[in-house]
């Protein structure tokens, strides 16, 4: 044995030990990684704090459910989609309106809307929608408040469950009625924030529940028309139905009934535009008298729930939350994404679970539907403007109410049907064929109205309502 081979032997040996050491370290790192993954597979919920039926502050709920709370806070995000989303335009705050960012005015985008709503508060100020976080501020500071509004408006623009219970001494409906009868400014004092966890979730079990009396009553009337008596949504709805119903508490067409300004969802005949129109006709209700034509007309407000119900997704059992709050994987937990927003901003999670198609193709399809709807809406809007122009001119010539009755009825119909699609926030996507059907009919009503202005004996043709939908 020489020195040289002894030293080279040492080098090999030390090299081998070094390699073994590196391998050991690497395997340990892998072991730790596997351990982490196994930990992720445990669904953990830590009850850090008690949440009760009066806990309105979402931050308290958020202590127990931090993922959902963090996502919920993101509804302040302002990202546009082509026809929707949320947006941020700067403005200079004033004493009356301290907002420094607002959404684009729809009246500026399309001045025909002003004429459609002439004589009504909506012709003063009407803006694009924004995220849930802004609901209370946008309602508080819109110029529509310059016209006296009732407290009823707060039902959908604030967290009201705890407020109703407090005002009603434990009776939700009594509190609801009390708020309805206050002027807005007074009722506003009772509200402190936008919609929160308590408005949709039971604090004990976290299960979804309905907290708005107007929805409970509207649903009961709707189900009664379908032959289901005494429908109580909180005990009879399935979990998947609830994933649409909680949104349906507010994303609906409504009106304020009577002197007590009760919030009512006009669903006793059904959920389609013509069903709701028939309801208003039977009850003799109008929102206002058109300033140019003198016609008693209706305003439709955001009927997403009604429109979605007519579409193929509803038919397939896809609820609002499936697209607008899709499941998100956090570790091994599957949680609903509480950043409620346009699915076009989240195509991956919202669409590709069921539609394994490239994002570009899905987006293109959705936008195609919206473009088609928008084009039809523009056509119908032009027709309505023509009708309003004709009616106003006829008024100017002194034509009698009796002679213009049919034409004004056509204006009322056309306007309501157009508004039904215009105010609906999916630009047709929730039910493309239904949106096109409603707009097509609106176009026809407007043109028939023009004929009726020119010929007092013309009897407009309105399609028969047919059976109410069976869903």
């Amino acid at each position: 044995m020489t020195d040289g081979s002894q030293r080279s032997g040492t080098k090999w040996f030390l090299g081998g030990v070094a390699v073994a050491g590196v391998v050991a370290a690497g395997v340990l790192a892998l072991l730790v990684n596997i351990f982490e993954r196994k930990q992720e597979a445990r669904t953990t919920f830590v009850r850090v704090t008690e949440v009760t039926d009066t806990t309105q502050n979402p931050a308290v709920w958020g202590a127990n459910f931090p993922f959902q709370y963090d996502l919920y806070l993101r509804t302040t995000d302002q990202v546009r989609t082509r026809f929707g989303g949320s947006e941020a335009l700067p403005r200079t705050p004033t004493d009356a309106d301290p907002r420094s960012i607002v959404a684009q005015s729809k009246l500026e985008e399309d001045p025909r809307l002003k004429r459609m709503w002439a004589g009504y508060a909506f012709s003063r100020d009407f803006r694009e929608e924004r995220g849930h976080a802004y609901m209370l501020d946008d309602q508080t500071f819109t110029e529509r408040q310059q016209v006296a509004q009732p407290g009823t408006c707060l039902n959908c623009h604030a967290s009201m469950y705890a407020v109703y219970n407090a005002l009603g001494d434990g009776d939700l409906t009594v509190g609801f009625e009390r708020i309805n009868q206050m002027p807005y400014a007074e009722a506003r004092e009772h509200a402190s924030q936008a919609i929160a966890c308590i408005d949709c979730h039971d604090p004990e079990t976290m299960r979804l529940r309905i907290t708005r009396p107007a929805f409970m009553e509207g649903m009961r009337a709707y189900k009664a028309a379908q032959g289901v008596a005494d429908y109580d949504v909180n005990t009879m709805a399935t979990r998947q139905e609830m994933r649409a119903f909680v949104c349906g508490q507010c994303h609906v067409e409504y009106y304020f009934r009577g002197a007590e300004k009760r919030l009512v969802y006009p669903w006793a005949n059904g959920l389609r535009a013509e069903d709701i129109y028939a309801y208003y006709r039977a009850s003799g209700f109008s929102d206002w008298t058109h300033a140019e034509t003198g016609a008693p007309v209706l305003k439709a407000q955001h009927p997403e729930f009604e429109m979605w119900n007519q579409g193929v997704h509803a038919r397939a059992g896809v609820a609002c939350a499936d697209c607008h709050m899709p499941y998100l994987r956090v570790g091994a937990q599957k949680i609903s994404d509480h950043h409620v927003r346009s699915p076009l901003l989240n195509i991956n999670n919202a669409c590709q679970t069921c539609h394994p198609v490239a994002e570009d193709e899905l987006r293109a399809r959705a936008e195609r539907i919206q473009e088609n709807t928008f084009a039809l809406r523009n056509q119908a809007m032009d027709a309505l403007m023509d009708l309003i122009g004709d009616l106003a001119a006829a008024r100017g010539r002194g034509t009698s109410d009796a002679d213009l009755a049919a034409a004004m009825e056509m204006q009322r119909r056309a306007q309501f049907y157009i508004d039904f699609v215009e105010a609906e926030n999916s630009t047709g996507f929730h039910a493309p064929q239904e949106a096109a059907r409603v707009l097509g009919q609106a176009l026809d009503f407007a043109r028939q109205g023009q004929i009726a202005v020119r010929d007092a004996r013309y009897r407009p043709i309105v399609p028969a309502r047919g059976e109410t939908d069976r869903r």
């Binding site: 002894q6 040996f13 030990v17 073994a20 050991a24 395997v27 993954r37 994987r329």
Partner: protein, 153 residues
């Protein structure tokens, strides 16, 4: 102990410790990560990783649950093919899941999709022949339409 050169007995002990550590930690990790389960056909082994829970749960209620396990559809039938595909996928799945470098929702790769399509035809030979057509043109995809027979989504 010529190979240890100048290090002598202390070196031997050091060697023993380090190599033993590597072997021991390695063996423990193999056991902890359920390494042996991947040599079986048990579908629960594929669900060792929580990201596969949806597919595993789906398979439990799907139409093929009593006639096909994961390997029956996702690996070729022959010995060499099966273990090649198993080995390749095993490595890449482990790599992806350890590093987190993969896109979601998870979509099957083309090569694995081809394996699955061939497996449909291995069992449903006659039916597939009818659908694929005798003209020898490009075969149809079974799972585009029959997407939920193995696991929905």
């Amino acid at each position: 102990m010529r190979y240890m050169g100048t290090l002598g007995r202390g070196g031997a002990v050091l060697a023993g410790i380090v190599v033993g550590l590597a072997a021991g930690v390695g063996g423990f990790t193999f056991w902890y990560g359920k390494g042996a389960s991947y040599l079986t056909n048990d579908p629960a082994a594929c669900a060792n990783c929580h990201i596969m829970y949806a597919q595993y749960d789906g398979w439990l209620v799907a139409s093929h649950r009593s006639v096909a396990t994961c390997n029956d559809c996702h690996t070729p039938h022959n010995l060499v093919g099966k273990y090649t595909v198993k080995g390749k996928n095993g490595f890449w799945h482990s790599f992806a899941f350890t590093t987190g470098w993969f896109a979601e929702p998870i979509r099957i790769k083309e090569s694995n999709r081809a394996v699955t399509e061939r497996r449909c035809r291995d069992c449903h030979t006659e039916m597939a022949r009818v659908v694929d057509g005798a003209d020898g043109g490009e075969p149809r995809s079974c799972i585009t339409c029959h997407a939920s027979v193995g696991h929905p989504h």
